[in-house]
């Protein structure tokens, strides 16, 4: 049996549970600590929501997890191996990162953009194979952009572009997905669709971390919630523990009433204090 970890004649990868871990990680840019003393674990089969005010470090945390930025302190490990020591392609096959910025100035078709997600699996001189096309079609179907496959990305609305980028991440077939504000430009229907999809993927065994502004959506869909403030991890655990009225007041500076829906999920109604 030929074994070649860098040649990419890959068939369907097995859905193994993988672990992405931050251990007392911190990152410092130009003297300012964007994150400090953060310990976090991302396991297959769970959906983690990162919440916090603007500038709390959610995007930075995702970048650290994805190996895009190097930690100045502490360790970032994938299945026990330091991310620093792994080749980029290897990381890309294990972890898929979707940025927040959906700007795409060049007239690629949606299909071409989603096909970019297969880059970690394709060698320099290799042509796209049947399995790549299948992965792309499947990814587009799940992200609900299949009908836009031959449209140019420059012609899409913000929400459609965001879903196309999500499809790109799905096409990598990586077991770990990191999504930065995946619902930012989406209407409520699509936002619910995307989060339901993330839930499905989590139940299929993927490890998903997403940064999100909407606390109610976080509470409804996530298994675990990590609350960040000014670069520190304030709390990490189940939605009930982390999303408490007092902690929200402390971190966000707003007061809230917590209600419950019929199926027991918490819903928050926010308002500013009336002085």
């Amino acid at each position: 049996m030929q074994v070649n970890a860098t040649a990419l004649t890959l068939t369907v990868p097995r859905r193994l549970l993988m672990r992405l871990e931050l251990d007392n990680a911190g990152i410092n840019i130009d003297g300012r600590w964007l994150l400090r003393h953060v310990s976090l674990e991302l396991r297959g089969g769970g959906l983690l929501a990162l919440v916090g005010p603007n500038g709390s470090g959610k995007s930075t945390l995702l970048r650290l997890l994805g190996g895009l930025w190097k930690a100045n302190e502490g360790a970032v490990t994938l299945d026990g191996r330091a991310l620093k020591s792994l080749p980029r392609r290897g990381i890309a096959r294990g972890v898929a990162y979707t940025p927040q910025d959906t700007r795409l100035d060049f007239a690629f078709t949606v299909r071409e953009v989603v096909m970019m997600g297969r880059h970690p699996h394709l060698g320099r001189f290799e042509v796209e194979r049947e399995i790549d096309r299948d992965a792309v079609n499947e990814a587009m179907r799940r992200a609900d952009v299949a009908q836009l496959a031959d449209r140019l990305v420059t012609e899409l609305s913000g929400g459609e572009r965001q879903r196309a980028l999500l499809a790109r991440s799905l096409a990598t077939e990586a077991p770990i997905l990191l999504l930065d504000e995946p619902t930012a430009s989406l209407d409520i229907a699509h936002a619910l669709d995307v989060l339901s999809l993330c839930r499905e993927l989590a139940e299929e065994g993927k490890a998903i971390a997403l940064a999100i502004h909407d606390l109610n959506l976080a509470a409804r869909f996530a298994d675990r919630v990590a609350l960040l403030d000014k670069g520190r991890l304030i709390a990490c655990g189940g939605a009930d523990e982390v999303l408490r009225v007092e902690s929200l007041n402390h971190v966000f500076g707003v007061s809230a009433d917590r209600l419950f829906t019929g199926d027991g999920k918490p819903v928050f109604v926010f308002h500013r204090d009336v002085c």
Binding site: Q2, V3, N4, A5, L10, L16, G80, G90, F125
Partner: protein, 376 residues
């Protein structure tokens, strides 16, 4: 990496290897035959046009095309040496073949007495016209036929001599000797050599002696030493006649050349040589400047030359003088106020052949006649 029990990187292990060299399960053909029959790995038939279309989409196609073009180019370059002349070359005429040092400092061997000569500089146009049999001159430079710059323009035109504009024409004329300027780039010379001709560089010259040396050199290269010598003698005679016209016992006039653009001529220029041959002093050279620098009008005013000289076509002499006088600083100089601005015919002033003698003569006329001395 993949067999380590600690990690889950077995996810990256290829399981597809081993199936690559198997026969097609459907039609049981070998992979090579399969491809030859234009079938895909899943045994579906594909049409040639479709194949072409798909092929052009990939980078591999481009790479293959590139390789093909490279190969074709290399094949075409295989005989990149220059064309040799078909006829055998025999030494003919007295003293050929001969080796000479040309104006660029390289040794040039002239195998036989040249019968088809092309000149690419105005200087050699003029010299050849004077010493060489007209039938041997098959091409002259473009400037040779310019009436503004060439003293022999009309003669050349009426003799129907061909002006040359590019290397192709030279090749067509199949000359044996081509005179080019010393500052021509090496690739120009190489192109000319492709015609099999001998290429001879003609250097610029800054004084009477080197001009005469050039005349003799041209004579030697074409086997007309006698005519060249006669030309030099004529030149010397004219120059002596000028010397005789210089009034004795006067202070040599101080002159300089000046153009509205600020250009002037210092030491080591033919202008300087002309001035000295006319018995005057070049102020700019005196002040230590060489070549063709630019100076300001104020500088001219400070140096207060006796005469200011400018070259122009004879028809434009008045206009040329007026242009100088338009500059108020120039107009305020003694020379200008006393009407001592001399315009000389450009065709002789800028010449680098025997025609400079005429410029010397014109200058002497202007310098000494204006002083009111009768010289004849």
């Amino acid at each position: 990496m993949c067999n380590s029990p600690k990690t889950n990187f077995s996810i990256f292990v290829s399981e597809a290897a081993g199936s690559r060299s198997a026969n097609c399960p459907v039609c049981v053909a070998r992979p090579l035959d399969h491809r030859r029959k234009l079938r895909r790995p899943d045994c579906s038939q594909v049409s040639p046009s479709r194949l072409v279309r798909e092929a052009t989409q990939t980078g591999q196609f481009a790479l293959r095309l590139l390789a093909l073009i490279a190969l074709a180019s290399l094949m075409a370059c295989r005989d990149a040496s220059q064309l040799k002349r078909a006829e055998a070359v025999e030494p003919s005429g007295a003293g050929f073949p001969r080796a000479l040092l040309d104006g660029g400092g390289s040794e040039v061997t002239i195998r036989a007495r040249p019968v088809r000569i092309v000149s690419q500089t105005l200087g050699t146009d003029e010299i050849l016209w004077a010493i060489c049999g007209r039938e041997h001159i098959v091409g002259v430079s473009k400037i040779g036929l310019e009436p503004k710059y060439s003293p022999i323009a009309d003669e050349l035109r009426s003799a129907n001599v061909t002006p040359i504009f590019d290397a192709e024409e030279i090749l067509r004329l199949q000359p044996d000797l081509v005179f080019v300027a010393s500052y021509s780039l090496a690739e120009t010379v190489e192109s000319l050599k492709a015609s099999g001709a001998t290429v001879f560089r003609f250097a610029n010259f800054d004084n009477i002696e080197s001009i005469q040396r050039n005349i003799r050199l041209v004579g030697q290269s074409i086997g007309e030493e006698a005519n060249a010598e006669k030309l030099v003698e004529r030149m010397n005679a004219e120059l002596s006649a000028v010397k005789a016209r210089i009034p004795a016992g006067i202070r040599p006039p101080r002159v300089l050349s000046y153009y509205p653009s600020g250009d002037t001529a210092g030491a080591d220029t033919s202008f300087d040589a002309i001035v000295r041959a006319a018995g005057a002093v070049n102020v700019v050279a005196e002040k230590g400047l060489r070549g063709f620098p630019k100076i300001s009008a104020e500088q001219v005013a400070e140096w207060q030359p006796d005469f200011i000289i400018r070259g122009a076509a004879p028809a434009n002499a008045a206009e040329a003088r007026k242009q100088l006088l338009d500059n108020p600083v120039i107009a305020a100089t003694d020379a200008a106020r006393n009407g001592r601005i001399i315009t000389l015919d450009n065709r002789y002033l800028l010449s680098v052949s025997h025609h400079v003698a005429r410029a010397v003569s014109e200058l002497a006329d202007a310098l000494y006649r204006s002083r009111g001395d009768s010289t004849k």
